[in-house]
């Protein structure tokens, strides 16, 4: 859906930024999930440097927004929580990247 050039010279209002993604810890979680098919709770905890409770809280928020899908599986008879981005989550992350690149790219003009 193409939109005409805004009157402000091409700087898309930062108010349009997706605030669910814009939180640093959730952004980090989504970056890792974007680069893989799925990852488990322990990996995200290690990679993003979050505590168990902290990660759980952020994942709940992302799941409420429909950006991630959380599946409880059994691996070697042990419970395992696998997390993956939904199609909506991937699109939202791509849109967020483009918005930030456009907004920050115009800072120097």
């Amino acid at each position: 859906m193409g939109s005409p050039e805004p009157k402000d010279g091409g700087v898309r209002p930062l108010g349009d930024i997706d605030r669910v993604i814009h939180e640093p810890a959730r952004l980090m979680i989504l970056m890792y999930l974007y680069s893989v098919k799925s990852a488990d709770f322990v990996f995200l905890m290690r990679a993003a440097g979050l505590t168990w409770g902290n990660l759980s809280s952020h994942l709940s928020k992302l799941e409420e927004s429909g950006y991630v899908k959380i599946e409880k599986q059994f691996l070697d008879k042990k419970p395992h929580t696998m997390i993956q981005l939904t199609g909506r989550g991937r699109k939202a992350f791509r849109d967020y990247r483009q918005t930030m690149q456009r907004a920050l790219g115009n800072l120097g003009n």
Partner: protein, 216 residues
């Protein structure tokens, strides 16, 4: 966060954390080159057919052992990741497989036939070059291959491994020029060093990444 974070760095960090942090890959690599260093000796003792069977069997055991150790020790500590199948990844895996097979094949060839693949073709060159020409190329291939891996994956110790096995292999085949020399000691020392580094990394990994427990 003091350094710039990009998706490329995230992918590399994922790869490092899952595949190279625990030192198991280093132990496997060093063990394979250790086997290659004694390949000519066991070949003389067992004959070519049984020696090849033994090599393949031990290799299968080493790989199975590494996968099992990863499941038991590493996965509970660093987690589980399923990679996305993209065309680029498939091509990368295929190229890696070809390079690994070619590298192992070259090393075996130079260790088993140090004289047969040099000589008359290189007649116009000085004697030591015509004797060692292919071995020098193998050394450069090994150094280049490991250096490329080090750069792509962001793992500096792979630069060292390239030089260790490259120079180790060259020194081993050079010593074969002396009659009576049978054991590839330089390559064995290089391989042993890699195994020791791998063991040290594994011990550090166990301490650095305790098995996480769910907070109350």
């Amino acid at each position: 966060m003091s350094q710039q974070i990009t998706l490329g760095k995230v992918r590399r960090r994922t790869l490092r954390l899952i595949n190279f942090e625990d030192g198991l890959w280093d132990i496997l690599l060093g063990s394979v080159f250790l086997m290659l260093s004694i390949y000519p000796v066991t070949r003389r003792l067992l004959g070519p057919a049984f020696n090849l069977l033994l090599f393949v069997a031990v290799l299968a055991i080493l790989i199975a052992g590494q996968l099992h150790a990863r499941r038991v020790f590493s996965a509970p500590r660093t987690g589980v990741v399923k990679s996305r199948r993209t065309p680029a990844r498939t091509v990368t895996l295929a190229i890696n497989a070809v390079l690994v097979i070619a590298t192992v094949g070259l090393v075996i060839t130079t260790l088993l036939f140090p004289q047969a693949i040099s000589g008359s073709r290189w007649g116009a060159l000085p004697g030591w070059v015509s004797d060692m020409g292919v071995d020098i190329i193998v050394m450069l291939v090994l150094i280049g291959f490991f250096s490329l891996m080090a750069y792509v994956f962001g793992i500096p110790r792979l630069y060292l491994y390239g030089w260790l096995v490259g120079v180790g292999n060259l020194a081993s085949t050079a010593l074969h020029l002396y009659p009576g020399y049978t054991f590839n000691l330089p390559l064995a020392i290089a391989a042993g060093t890699i195994v020791v580094i791998g063991v040290a990394l594994f011990i550090r990994f166990l301490h650095k990444y305790p098995i996480p427990t769910e907070e109350a």
